[in-house]
Each structure stands twice: as structure tokens, then as C-alpha cells.
């Protein structure tokens, strides 16, 4: 049974979590994700579920560790500075192999930055962020509907891999009000949480369960090496099975735009403008920022397509694109310095992207293969 609701992206994330059977939410106020925390504060008690307003983002993420260790579906949400604070425990969650969902509604940085939109946490989110070797699946919604659906997916993937899953949104997607089909998505069975704590009496075998963030001290793995091997296997499994993207007008494209989140919508509009003038532009919209579609980009680059990355930062996603392209072709950027006004309220606008597309299209191809920005 489905229901239609008209909500902003942040609220759609909350509905998605509730629909996926999230039992506990821990949050601390920070703009621009407050709608999420306030939704849970309002709705979860009515559903008989758990809401805790933590004393800090450190509190939120460590409560999440506790909730995940107890074997329940649990979530926290924050924005960029809070996400930075959480990193030690995100690393611990990966080591302890605790399934959980974390939402980062990005705002500007570095530092306190402006409280408005930006996309400056790409590298921090996709490359780990905390210390040690681990990867989290990073889902990047670019509509309210996707906020809802990808949150449900996030809970499934977290349970499937016993790994944290991150939802990387931004202030524009978070505040964008759209119609959402609210429907529970069935993804299939997930493994039993027969490792969770809850008191020995609760366990079938009557033996104690330990959740520890070292991995090899008390028998989860026979050695540190075995733990690392498992983490590496898991990274490879996730890379192989969980890559998601949307290819928009890509079949005949010789100029490939790469974007995620709000800038993907901007890029799409610019592509429509370009297509109206006969320019063969297409979009590779990331749905997972990690895993990243290296192979597809490499393939397109080998065919001679040129690349334009549209991201509201000084250039972070572009590093992954350049790495996949490996010098085969040109990679350009429309970034945060190309916003329509130079204030923190400025945005990357479709006409700016369109003019860059035209500029690249008119320039003679095949010249320099260095870094064009």
C-alpha cells in the first residue's frame, strides 16, 4: 500500500527510515538537518519508538554504536561539522562491523562555514573520514523521493554487509519540497543479528556476546590480519554489487557531465539546454558516491568523451573522475567559484553549466590532456 505525501527531502529521509523499520534515532541540533531530528522527536514517541536528543554529535554517533550493538535498526543525522566530530566512532563502527545509517546533510565549510548548502564533504565521506582502513557505502539522493527510497535501501545494505551506510545529502535537497510515494520497499532477507548484545538470557545458545572495536582481541577473528582480510573482502563485495548511478542521455554523449545531489539536477537542466542546440551532452549521476563508477568513466574516456564535473565545491569529486580518466581525455569543472552570486546563498545555476558546455564544445578537442578547470 502506498501513500502520497508532499514533504521536503529531510522529512522524506525520516519517513524512509520509519518505513524501513528504524527503531531508534539519536540526534543533536545542527542546521540544515533540524527537520530530520524534529520529525523523529515528534513522530517516534507516537509510534512507540526511541528518540534521544543527544548532548553532542559525539553523543549521537556513540548512541548509534550502542543501538546497533543491541541489534536494532538505528540512525543518526547531522551536518558537516557534526559529521567531522563523529569520525572516530564511524571508524569504530566499521571495525566492530555494526550496521547503522548516518545522514549528512552537507553545509558549507571549511570550519563553521556558512549554514547553507554546499558539497564539500565528498572526499571525507567517500574515503573514510576516520582513521584506519574502511569504506562506507555512500548514497546520494537528488530528490525527495530518493531521500525516502535510498534511506530504506541504506538500512538494508547496512544489515546485509554489517557496515555503516551513509546518506550524503545537501541543504538544497534537504529543503526541497516534492511529492513522495511512501511505500515500503522489499529488498530481500538480511542476515540474523545473532551477534548482538541483549543479555545472555536472550541468546539461543545462552553464551555471552561481545561487541568490540578491535576485532581480534576476544575471538571474533583469529588475528588482526584476519580482520583486515575480512574488511578487504567486504570492500570488494560492496564495490562489485552495490554500484548505482543514473545514466541520462549517455548513449551518444561525447561530453559527459558527472554530478550528484542538487548539482545533478542543475546538470540535467543544462544538458537539456545543450541538447536543444544539438550538443551531445549526457549525465552520469552518482547514486552511490562510493562505490564509484570507475569502469564506466574509463570506458567513456577511452571512446574519447570529454568530462565536465559539476559540484558545489572547489573540486573533490573531480579527483575520482580524473583518476578514472587517467589522462585519456579532458576533465573540466564547474565548481563553487562558479556560483551565480558570490555570497553563501549563491548556487550553481543551469545557465552557467550550459555556457561551460558550449565553451568546451566549441574549443578544439584533442589538444591538451592536462587539467582544465
Amino acid at each position: 500500500m502506498s501513500e502520497r505525501i508532499f514533504v521536503e527531502g529531510n522529512v522524506a529521509i525520516s519517513w524512509g527510515a520509519a518505513t524501513a523499520g528504524c527503531q531508534a534515532f539519536y540526534g543533536y541540533p545542527i542546521t540544515p538537518q533540524n527537520e530530520i531530528t524534529e520529525w523523529f522527536a515528534r513522530e517516534f514517541p507516537k509510534m512507540g519508538r526511541i528518540f534521544v536528543q543527544s548532548q553532542s554529535e559525539l553523543g549521537s554517533i556513540n548512541m548509534l554504536y550502542g543501538g546497533a550493538a543491541a541489534g536494532i535498526r538505528a540512525m543518526t543525522s547531522t551536518s558537516s561539522p557534526g559529521w567531522s566530530l563523529m569520525q572516530e566512532t564511524v571508524s569504530d563502527l566499521a571495525n566492530a562491523e555494526l550496521p547503522c545509517v548516518i545522514v549528512n546533510v552537507q553545509r558549507g565549510g571549511p570550519g563553521g562555514g556558512p549554514i547553507r548548502h554546499a558539497q564539500q564533504d565528498y572526499l571525507q565521506c567517500t574515503k573514510g573520514g576516520g582513521h584506519g582502513d574502511y569504506r562506507n557505502i555512500v548514497l546520494t539522493p537528488s530528490s525527495a523521493q530518493e531521500c525516502c527510497d535510498l534511506t530504506q535501501l541504506a538500512f538494508y545494505l547496512a544489515d546485509k554487509y554489517r557496515n555503516p551506510v551513509l546518506i550524503l545529502s545537501d541543504a538544497i535537497i534537504g529543503r526541497l519540497r516534492e511529492t513522495v510515494e511512501l511505500e515500503r520497499i522489499e529488498f530481500g532477507p538480511v542476515p540474523d543479528k545473532d551477534w548482538a548484545v541483549g543479555g545472555k538470557a536472550r541468546h539461543r545458545d545462552g553464551r555471552r556476546h561481545l561487541v568490540e572495536h578491535a576485532g581480534d582481541l576476544y575471538g571474533r577473528y583469529p588475528s588482526y590480519r584476519a580482520l583486515l582480510q575480512r574488511l578487504q573482502e567486504k570492500i570488494k563485495e560492496m564495490q562489485k554489487a552495490e554500484l548505482r548511478y543514473e545514466a541520462y542521455k549517455m548513449e551518444d554523449a561525447n561530453l559527459v557531465l558527472v554530478a550528484y545531489g542538487y548539482t545533478a539536477r542543475v546538470a540535467k537542466e543544462a544538458i537539456n539546454m545543450a541538447r536543444a542546440e544539438g550538443i551531445k551532452a549526457g549525465l552520469m549521476r552518482l547514486i552511490t558516491a562510493w562505490p564509484f563508477p570507475d569502469d564506466l568513466i574509463r570506458e567513456k574516456a577511452s571512446e574519447g568523451s570529454r568530462f565536465l564535473v559539476v559540484e558545489d565545491s572547489l573540486g573533490q569529486l573531480i579527483e575520482d573522475v580524473r583518476c578514472a580518466v587517467a589522462g585519456r581525455t579532458e576533465v573540466h569543472l564547474v565548481g563553487i567559484l562558479d556560483r551565480h552570486i558570490p555570497t553563501d546563498g549563491g548556487m550553481i545555476m543551469p545557465d552557467k553549466v550550459f555556457s561551460k558546455i558550449k565553451e568546451i564544445n566549441e574549443a578544439e578537442s584533442g589538444g591538451s590532456r592536462g587539467y582544465h578547470e
Binding site: 539519536y26 526511541i50 556513540n62 554504536y65 550502542g66 543501538g67 555471552r208
Partner: protein
């Protein structure tokens, strides 16, 4: 052997069932009093018949050894964070017994944020703090509880109040919070104090079982290697110095929060 003698012997020298046999060797240093804390926790949980529903959350530091010592469901956590985990687990399983064991640095320095959080929210958990006045695992650095003038590896000239301030009195501070049901400080330097501390521990868990409010027990523990003393001199130092700075007793004991 008659039955009564057997019972007495079991009580005095027996091993509580909730203690894991240490077959791979004993991890603690000579004269360390953490094993005594482990023992009374095990005994009290057994007496209260809650071993099967207890969840212990052990901080980084020597207290993380408890993961291999107490035969209950347990977690270890990033440094200072056990009260956060305890919050989430107790909310998920309100009928379980959830407690943390932390050092003085883990609770009062790096863990001050989660401590203040659980005190404010009056979480129905038990916090056990082992106060040995130093960071034990890392080699005896100054802790929030180090005495004025105490020599540590980071206060080689002794703790100077103009630069490092005064020792923190956890039990007295925690007793001031309205959400706290029980708060006490014990020690293991004499058999009498050991028995008293054991009673404090039992009351603290009983408060949680009765769902009254947060309960807290601070225990002064000897750390002979980092104090550079013999185990015997350590007991003397507790008697002569530490108990003067950190008086023993119950600081709060209520059956209803107000």
C-alpha cells in the same frame, strides 16, 4: 566436609560463576585492585540474579580487560563514550541491567561530555568509576583525580595547582544532579572497606532494577606500578592520602527523584 563449611569456603575462596576462568594467564599487574572490582560486580550480579540480563560497557584502558573477565554480554567502546552506548542499550532494552566501568580519566576528562549527558537525562544506568589517580594503561600520566603535588609522568615536578588545577571529586559532583538515585565512594584498602564497597555496588544495581534513576559508584583502586610503590605501600598511601582527599561513603541515596 560438612555443608556449612563448604558454603563458607565457597563464599570466601570460591570463584563467582560470572567470572571467566583466566586460563591464558592473569592480565593484571601485581597489587592491582581492578580484579576486586570485577569480583564484587560478579558476586552482586549473581546475588541479584541478573547475570543473564546484564550488559557491561567497558571503556578504553585497563577496564577493557573486563571484557575477558566478566561472563556477561559486553561492549568495549571508543575512549570515554560508554555512557552513550549505555543510553542507547538501556532505551532499547529497558528491562536489562546496563552498566559502565570506566577509569577516572575516561569518565572525568575525555568522557565528561557523555557523563553530563546521562546525568542530565537521568538515564537508568549504573556507572562504576575506578579511581586510581592516573592513566594506568598508558604509563601513569596525570588524571583529573591526581592529588595536588602528585608526581606523574606528565607532572614530573608534582601536580602544580596554578598549571594543572585541583583533583575532581566525582561522587560529590554527581550527587548534586537531580536525576541521580544513588551515589557512593568506596575503597578496597581494608576488608571492612571492601565489604562496604560491595554493599554500595549492590545498592547501585538495586536502584537500577527498581528503575529509580542513575546510580554511581566510585572506587579508589591501587595502581602500584604507576605509583612506583609496593602493593603494601599503596594500601598505606590510600589510607593516609587518598581517603583524606576523597572521603568514603554514600553521597546520595533516594527512592524517588525530585
Amino acid at each position: 566436609m560438612n555443608e556449612q563449611l563448604k558454603m563458607v569456603r565457597e563464599k570466601v575462596a570460591g570463584r563467582p560463576k560470572l567470572l571467566v576462568p583466566q586460563t591464558a594467564g592473569f592480565v593484571y599487574c601485581p597489587g592491582c585492585q581492578e580484579p576486586l572490582a570485577a569480583r564484587i560486580i560478579a558476586e552482586v550480579l549473581e546475588e541479584l540474579e541478573v547475570g543473564g540480563k546484564s550488559i557491561g560497557i567497558f571503556d578504553i584502558g585497563c577496564v577493557s580487560f573486563l571484557l575477558g573477565v566478566l561472563d556477561i554480554d559486553a561492549l568495549n567502546t571508543p575512549h570515554g563514550r560508554p555512557p552513550d552506548m549505555a543510553t542507547a542499550i538501556k532505551r532499547a532494552y529497558p528491562d536489562n541491567i546496563v552498566f559502565t566501568v570506566q577509569g577516572d580519566g575516561g569518565l572525568l576528562a575525555i568522557g565528561a561530555d557523555p557523563l553530563l549527558g546521562v546525568l542530565t537525562r537521568s538515564e537508568k544506568i549504573t556507572i562504576i568509576m575506578l579511581n586510581n589517580t592516573v592513566y594506568g594503561t598508558t604509563g601513569g600520566q596525570m588524571a583529573p583525580t591526581s592529588l595536588v603535588g602528585q608526581t606523574t609522568t606528565t607532572t614530573p615536578e608534582g601536580r602544580d595547582v596554578t598549571r594543572f588545577g585541583f583533583p575532581v571529586h566525582a561522587a560529590e559532583m554527581i550527587a548534586t544532579f537531580k536525576g541521580v538515585a544513588y551515589c557512593a565512594r568506596g575503597a578496597f584498602n581494608t576488608p571492612a572497606n571492601y565489604q562496604r564497597t560491595r554493599r554500595y555496588m549492590k545498592t547501585a544495581f538495586q536502584k537500577q532494577m527498581d528503575n529509580i534513576g542513575l546510580s554511581f559508584v566510585e572506587i579508589i583502586c591501587a595502581c602500584p606500578p604507576n605509583w612506583h610503590m609496593s602493593p603494601q605501600d599503596s594500601l598505606k598511601w590510600i589510607e593516609e592520602k587518598l581517603i583524606l582527599e576523597f572521603p568514603l561513603g554514600e553521597f546520595k541515596n533516594v527512592d524517588r527523584l525530585e
